[in-house]
Symmetry: C2
Subunit: 258 residues, 2 copies
Amino acid sequence: MKDKLTIVKVGGKIVEDAESLSNLLNDFSQLSGYKVLVHGGGRSATRIATRLGIETKMINGRRITDEDMLQVVTMVYGGLVNKNVVAKLQGLGLNAIGLTGADMDVIRSDKRPVREIDYGFAGDVKSVNGEILAMLIKKNIIPVMAPLTHDGMGHMLNTNADTIAAEIAKSLAKYFDVTLTYCFDRKGVLRDENDENSVINLIDPVIYKKLKEDGVVCGGMLPKMDNAFSAINAGVSQVIITSSEDLSGKYATVIKNK
Amino acid sequence: MKDKLTIVKVGGKIVEDAESLSNLLNDFSQLSGYKVLVHGGGRSATRIATRLGIETKMINGRRITDEDMLQVVTMVYGGLVNKNVVAKLQGLGLNAIGLTGADMDVIRSDKRPVREIDYGFAGDVKSVNGEILAMLIKKNIIPVMAPLTHDGMGHMLNTNADTIAAEIAKSLAKYFDVTLTYCFDRKGVLRDENDENSVINLIDPVIYKKLKEDGVVCGGMLPKMDNAFSAINAGVSQVIITSSEDLSGKYATVIKNK
């Protein structure tokens, strides 16, 4: 039987507020088994960019990463957010290591091709080195992943944190019994978006099909669900969609293959 | 016989200019044996701080690191400089990993006690985990160290890069035959500071005593030399003081015990 591994992805909103970050890291430290943390940091990047006089351009919720913005996200995600999280986890007695995809060539990406939109230095994940991550994890080291990758030719690339979490989960499914936990600002996938108590507890492919047909799952939830099923189809045991206050996913949505 | 390891320390001036950085990393990639790179980044930190409206305060050439400045150095050293160097080394086919002292608890420091001067969040190195660094190095992974450490209680600390290089060298002397190479803007320790061709090729403790008495070694060179001899007394084979154009130290100053 494989050892349990939980990969937790948290968005910028949680890591950028001192109190919510502190609560989250405390809860994270309590999770049993091996662990990985993947973080965002978009709000901090936007805030620092504004202070530096660099304009933030977004299209359909996605950041346009020109050269100046690449410098900003490299320093904010890879330095400011990542290293503060690592130091805080060390303070809780967890042996964390902060990584971008460039470190040890952990995640290599292709610069996104320019079609209707030029996203600039945005990376689409090409390969993940699960072996080296598994080696660290089995030494009780906790990878803390910033949403940055590299192209193998000397350039950093800005990369979606949800995607990084899913791709890491897939690559580690060979070595561990993987749970992928997406934290966001709701308790789970809601049947009625105005009712926090309408969490759908279990979603499998059959239920998902129905939820899409009925329009219950739509909008921004669709790529998250697609990431989830793509992970499950690649061997990840379960995906949990939960709020940061319920990290163990007790009251959340669990996505499974059957 | 132990395997050879070269630890190269380069200052901010070299890593912050695209062309000199590119030349340096090319030369670094050509060095034979195991390798570690330690970098500065003070000029970038000052530049970004200015753009953010944060004042840079220096006393005797040392940065005063208040809370705002700690955020700046964390993002500039740990993110901007470190990750760009890592991506560039990956582009040259070297499997680099960027680390601060917080990552894997590699370097723990004490916040410098306030005496005449309050340096703020500046760290004095307390312990280095040479074992984990040696493990990575023997897997042909190249640590790229940012001048940041942590206190083990959740806080990052700004730490002198020369000191980090010396402390890492000492902790790795148990595992490797270590050469510590300090790059700066002269060809080596000069007998006559106005003559670039007056490099003193060899300095041992007897010669050093004489050079100090004669006032040849003075000022900013003294702490560098003290770091060097402290490393040698702890088992480092040799310390080279050279320019970034002569990374192998062919025309440089070599400091040895005998």
